[in-house]
């Protein structure tokens, strides 16, 4: 005849009997904190305070970065060439490896049961996008394709073929879409945008040089033909040697088939609406001209 075990047991006893937690009872894990170096104090930090002996080093008068004492510096000696022209104006895409994506999903920072968007990735602090540094979004890189095992509906700005194959192999859906710089700034920081009180703008179409990329079914572009995308999925499955799982029979089919409209920035919000955070209200325009403009 066994006694019914009290649920909780020793842990519950401890919780009931130990004193309350205060700052006096807490201590960091050994190895968590390191003592900071204090300059100008003590036998080792004092005297010259780690600055060296006399000269420009100690007096803080060293010349600018890159100066080589009068010799033509490296950054001036190397001649310019055409293939570097306009390099600072080229669009950049922050890489996101499948390894990191799997890490984020495993830790629960990204929810695979909802469509994964750039907003979700930035909320999870998975990537850091700087739209002012000519970043145009995130690109999916196929490092970690062999260990990737998550069924997700993901939307990125660029994706390599291997990454597309890895996601579709696991029964997921991938789309590449374009965000112009203003929309990108809104997507990565939605709350500061809502505090500005502006209506949600419509997403602009990509420029002529990027239209071929986004109308191509091979890249799963958001402007491409859905039938061609289906054919491309089959072709890719044949190329990489896996059986394409049928997502229409999936229980999460509705979630996987959720896709944004071409002019939409957020799921569930359409252009022209004003979102107010203080009163938790959404305001919509009623003027026909405005409606026509925002729905074009």
């Amino acid at each position: 005849m066994s006694f019914p075990k009290k649920p909780g047991g020793k842990a519950l006893d401890a919780l009931q009997n130990l004193p309350r937690i205060t700052l006096a009872n807490l201590r960091p894990e050994p190895g968590a904190t390191t003592e900071e170096k204090k300059r100008g104090r003590g036998q080792h930090g004092g005297n010259r305070s780690g600055r060296g002996h006399k000269g420009e080093r100690q007096r803080g008068n060293r010349p600018r970065l890159g100066f080589e004492g009068g010799q033509t510096p490296f950054y001036l000696a190397i001649p310019k060439y055409g293939y570097n022209e306009g390099h600072s104006r080229r669009p950049q895409y922050q890489p996101l490896s499948l390894k990191r994506l799997q890490y984020l999903i495993d830790l629960g920072r990204v929810d695979p049961t909802q469509p994964i968007d750039l907003t979700q990735l930035v909320n999870a602090r998975g990537v850091t996008i700087q739209p002012l540094k000519r970043d145009y979004g995130v690109q999916l890189v196929d490092e970690g394709a062999d260990i990737f095992a998550a069924k997700i509906n993901i939307e990125v700005q660029r994706a390599s073929e291997g990454a597309i194959a890895a996601i579709e192999k696991n029964g997921g859906v991938i789309t590449t879409s374009f965000y112009d710089p203003i929309s990108l700034g809104i997507v990565i920081k939605p709350v500061p945008f809502f505090m500005r009180g502006q209506p949600i703008p419509k997403r602009m179409l990509p420029g002529e040089d990027m239209v071929p990329y986004y109308t191509d079914a091979e890249n799963r572009g958001y402007l491409a033909d859905p039938e061609k995308i289906q054919q491309a999925r089959l072709a890719l499955a044949q190329k990489y040697g896996y059986i394409l799982p049928d997502i229409s029979k999936d229980e999460l089919y509705h979630m996987l088939s959720m896709r944004k409209d071409v002019r939409q920035i957020f799921f569930g919000l359409s252009p022209g609406w004003v979102v107010n955070m203080s009163e938790k209200k959404i305001l919509k325009p009623t003027d026909e001209k405005l409606l026509k403009y925002y729905s074009s």
């Binding site: 929810d111 179409l205 799921f267 569930g268 203080s278 325009p285």
Partner: protein
């Protein structure tokens, strides 16, 4: 649009996972550390999702600062439409801003539409431009390749011609040399000593030789003609 269907859900679920905004915490009072939500997926497995602590929204709803528009002392930038929008964004209807002013007026909208028409052409136009450009490029490339192919086809003939010309030039050169040597020898025989080919005597001698050659040729021609006439007369005589 898909947005209209989920609009009502979105508003009621505004406190929970916000699709467009940050993932708001499930436990509303806790502000320290990363918070987690327990979402139940459709398959019934309990998934734990973490989310970062959202930055505290300092809305200041109790004493909102709304500047006096009529006073002289308020700075200019606080009387602009942009500042009004920000006030509305922070305080909502308590800011006393007419929500209709948040959207562009008709004139501003016209300007925006004109700008968009000029700088952002629709997808069809862009696709057409791309097609036209590509077609031009392919045509240029094909024309170039055709030209190259045609020229390459001509190459064997051109090589043969060139070789033949070279050979002929060589032969002519050799003949010229032989002729000059012969003339020199002739002159030597006539005058008894080596004579410079550039002098007047040599030239006179050359002229004489040429004359004699011409006379000989004329005689030869006449004889040939007579023979031919004789040949034509006799067959006609025999045939008739």
């Amino acid at each position: 649009m898909k947005s209209t269907n989920s609009r009502s859900e979105k508003r009621s679920v505004a406190a929970r996972t916000h699709r467009g905004g940050r993932a708001v915490s499930c436990g509303r009072g806790r502000r320290s550390g990363a918070e987690g939500c327990n979402t139940l997926s459709k398959s019934g497995v309990l998934l734990q999702t973490a989310s970062y602590n959202p930055r505290p929204l300092k809305l200041n709803l109790k004493e909102p600062f709304i500047p006096d528009k009529d006073s002289r002392k308020t700075p200019e930038w606080q009387k602009t439409a942009r500042y009004d929008r920000k006030l509305f964004g922070r305080h909502g209807s308590a800011s006393g801003v007419d929500p209709a002013s948040l959207w562009p007026s008709h004139e501003e909208l016209d300007k925006i539409i004109a700008e968009e028409k000029e700088w952002h052409p629709p997808l069809e136009v862009m696709l057409k431009n791309i097609e036209a450009r590509e077609k031009q490029e392919t045509e240029k490339r094909l024309a170039k390749e055709k030209l190259i192919a045609a020229n390459m086809a001509k190459m064997p003939q051109m090589i043969a011609d060139w070789r033949r010309e070279k050979r002929e030039a060589k032969i002519k050169l050799n003949e010229e040399k032989a002729r000059r040597a012969k003339l020199l020898a002739e002159a030597r025989v006539r005058f008894g000593h080596a004579i410079d080919p550039r002098s007047a005597k040599f030239k006179e001698m050359v002229a004489e030789i040429d004359k004699e050659e011409k006379k000989k040729k004329k005689l030869m021609k006449r004889r040939l003609k007579e023979e031919q006439e004789a040949a034509t007369v006799t067959p006609s005589a025999t045939s008739s």
